[in-house]
Amino acid sequence: MRAADPDVKSSKNQQIPRLPEQTPQEKIALYRTMLLIRRFEEKSKQAFTQGKIKGFCHLYNGQEAVAVGTISVLNEDDAVITAYRDHGHALARGVDPNACMAELFGKITGCSRGKGGSMHFFDAKKHFYGGHGIVGGQIPLGTGIAFAQKYLDTNRVTLAYMGDGAINQGAVHEAMNLAALWKLPIIYIIENNEWSMGTSISRSSAGDPLTKRAGAFDMAAIQANGMDLDDVRAKTFEAVSLARTESQPTLMEIKTYRYFGHSMSDPGNYRKKEEIEERRKGDPIELYKARLIEGKIATAESLEAIDAEVTEIAQESYDFAEKSAEPEIETVFEDIFAPEDQIFEFRPEPRY
């Protein structure tokens, strides 16, 4: 396995399986998912501005190739867990866009029944373990999921995402130590968009690259270009293979960039417009589109048709969310406790 830093351990396994060749249809499907996320987020932005989405709303625009590329090399029953900028991961994992938008609108049809909101998407059927609001707090959870995957001999793996800001949380380091110590099948993915809210990485994190943090735990580490879907896929595939075949964790740093503020409440005055414009020139969707056209995998027209299709899906999700019912007040008391089946039910009705 490629190491991002000479101090970082490489895999001893010389027989890393190769990333399977994709069919044109598969490539086009990934383009479609990236574009779906882009159009969905544009719709979210509009809905937030209209006051239909409340609270916090962290958009994923610019980072689409990370979620789509990494998740594209997973099996359906592998686990995904992420932080609060979670719309892209949910959609890439196949969570229904209607359920996602309805969650943003706080409706009962939402993927968390309107109880989670933007930061707390969940979908058990899609092995999507959330959507977590506390920076770095999801990383020990992901580590526990990987622990359970190994304990139960599932041969499954976990992808646990965090932003570059999370890498300075103690929880992340504690979790990485446990994963390296106990050889857990997990890939820690830092989506390095260079800004932890309004603080640039140079003002927040000592040591470059961030993959160096893996060195202390003797953990494999790898960097990827988050603007290049194929690079993300290739590097993630190496890490996933290491997890699946050797039950070894990897720390990935994927360089990316977000186009909008930290959340919709953030005007982003800490960075210049020119910086964003410059970075948009390396847009991951445009880059991939050009590659598909150059490779004669798709025509500009067929990709236009896909754009029309996903734009329609985003609009439909908006319409669905708007039409959906508000949760009944009674639901506030639901979903607190799992029903008991091994001991008798001991909880009275909520009474405080």
Binding site: G110, G144, F147, E174, F346
Partner: protein
């Protein structure tokens, strides 16, 4: 019925539940090769092997979160804190993850998790190691909080907690590990959420929990010699609170004393006092009285610490006020 220590009763519960269900595992500092800082897990590594009895690094945030994630995936982790005082390092994981994930996922993910360990003062281990944490956790919706006072309940409640499909804070008491009493063999499940009347009486009611039950019991015995009969209730479970048992007793005795080792501000004792005045106002012949630890950090010095704890002298003095 065999006589076991509180520690042995807990050990029996763990062993029986691990035997019964492969998904139960024990993780924490020194639980394996060292046999547990308080020997609660003695012999379990030998019996169940390192896959299921796992020595963790000193990393409460990490292994608590790992336990929660494993529970989300369907395992039934038992996470040991050497003392609950150290759970503060993992507070975010317990509050924001263990307690919230089910709700904020719209009920999709359950957390069948037991967090357990020692707690309490009286052993001169100073301010950072003497906390009584039940109020911190009882304040959080979705957490069940259990504080056994006797070996039989330690066993029966731990078995019930492990079988619960929800997160349980199981708070043991360091001073009780060596306490001996009769414990039923084998399948013994104490119901969660049910208090126990330890002594029956008609003059006044004492509601207490954990180590304070034993302080209160000594006082009850002293008063008995003076012809005063107290009804002592051991809450056993702090949340959900068994108000029915409290209400039945207070309706009979018309006087209530609360004895708890917690610091006084905003704890379960205050909640009980609130509910009693709300529901039983006309039954009360005196204001509800309360003996708690003093509102100061825990001092090291033994004389000072005894003054801070809800000692028998203060309990007796308060009983006098209550009965005046």
């Amino acid at each position: 019925m065999p006589t076991l220590t509180y520690r042995e009763a807990l050990n029996e519960a763990l062993a029986e539940e691990m035997e019964r269900d492969d998904k139960v595992f024990l993780m924490g500092e020194e639980v394996g090769e060292y046999n547990g800082a308080y020997k609660v897990s003695k012999g379990l590594l030998e019996k169940f092997g390192p896959k299921r009895v796992i020595d963790s690094p000193i990393s409460e945030t990490g292994f608590t979160g790992l336990g929660i994630g494993a529970a989300m995936y369907g395992l039934r982790p038992v996470i040991e804190y050497m003392t609950w005082s150290f759970s503060l390092v993992a507070y975010d994981q317990i509050i924001n993850n263990a307690a919230q994930v089910r709700y904020m996922s719209g009920g999709q993910f359950s957390i069948p998790l037991v967090l357990r360990g020692s707690s309490g003062g009286g052993l001169q281990v100073g301010a950072t190691h003497s906390h009584t944490p039940e109020n911190w956790y009882a304040n959080v919706p979705a957490l069940t909080v259990i504080t056994p006072a006797f070996p039989a309940d330690a066993k029966g409640l731990l078995k019930s907690a492990i079988r619960s499909n929800n997160p349980v804070c199981f708070i043991e008491n360091e001073k009780l590990y060596g306490y001996k009493d009769e414990v039923p063999e084998g399948e013994h499940l104490t119901p969660i959420g049910k208090a126990r009347v330890v002594t029956e009486g008609s003059d006044f009611t004492i509601v207490s929990n954990s180590g304070s039950v034993h302080r209160a019991l000594n006082v009850v015995k002293t008063l008995e010699a003076q012809g005063i009969r107290a009804e002592l209730i051991d809450l056993r479970t702090i949340k959900p609170l068994d108000f029915e048992t409290i209400a039945a007793s207070v309706s009979k005795t018309n006087r209530l004393l609360i004895v708890e080792e917690n610091k006084p501000f905003a704890g379960w004792g205050a909640q009980v006092a609130y509910e009693v005045q709300k529901e039983l106002f006309d039954d009360l012949d005196a204001p509800v009285h309360r003996v708690t630890s003093l509102d100061v950090p825990q001092p090291y010095n033994g004389r000072l610490e005894q003054a801070v704890l809800p000692n028998e002298e203060r309990i007796l003095a308060t009983v006098k006020e209550l009965l005046a």
